[in-house]
Symmetry: C2
Subunit: 93 residues, 2 copies
DNA sequence: AACATTTGGTTTATAATATAAACTTATTTA
DNA sequence: TAAATAAGTTTATATTATAAACCAAATGTT
């Protein structure tokens, strides 16, 4: 009846990030920070967790002289998100 | 775009409890423990939180000689649950 | 040139949370 | 009478989420 809710996704900020990345080829740090309204510190930590889990890929490069952190979702991340949706539906009917 | 997810409901066990109580007139402690698979300790703590928030009402009585804890959702709890559903839909599309 | 401010983050500290383990009190059962 | 079960509660611990503090480089200001 109640499936496990993947704790990596059952977090407001990480869920928002994954949700954004599902519909975007890629998104950079500043974009994610603005869209989610998170603080940079919090976002940094949560991106790191998603990255460690293999749910997203994080690439660091430069745009001109400024650093740029770009994220994209992995196949594993997509699968996890889809499973999360199925699971939470069991709770919200 | 991303609404706040009520932290009281954005918890696997509390969400399961509320979900059950939405479709039941009332439910007792043992029933909730079995349906959710939670430990008694965890359930006790989470029921207390939901109760403090005014999302559920907890009544303690006796069934024969054994104690019996019965829960039912309040109007406030129903409203919070419905709002939670709307909010999470913003994340899962 | 020198100083302050902004940008794009990371690291660290703290407060809140979820959870299980340990405990309590009373009741059956052997 | 002793052991086991029932129905919880309290306490301890480990994990989390989050913001505050920090850092390095670039840009703007006097």
């Amino acid at each position: 009846m109640f499936k496990e809710l993947d704790p990596l996704l059952h977090s407001q900020l990480r869920l928002a990030v994954i949700s954004l990345l599902m519909s975007l080829e890629e998104a950079d740090f500043v974009f994610l920070r603005e869209k989610t309204g998170a603080t940079a510190g919090n976002l940094s930590v949560q991106l790191e967790k998603l990255s460690e889990a293999g749910y997203i890929e994080v690439a660091k490069s430069f745009l001109g002289k400024r650093p740029r952190t770009t994220c994209r979702i992995t196949a594993q991340g997509q699968k996890a998100f889809e499973e999360y949706i199925e699971a939470i539906k069991g709770y919200i009917g």
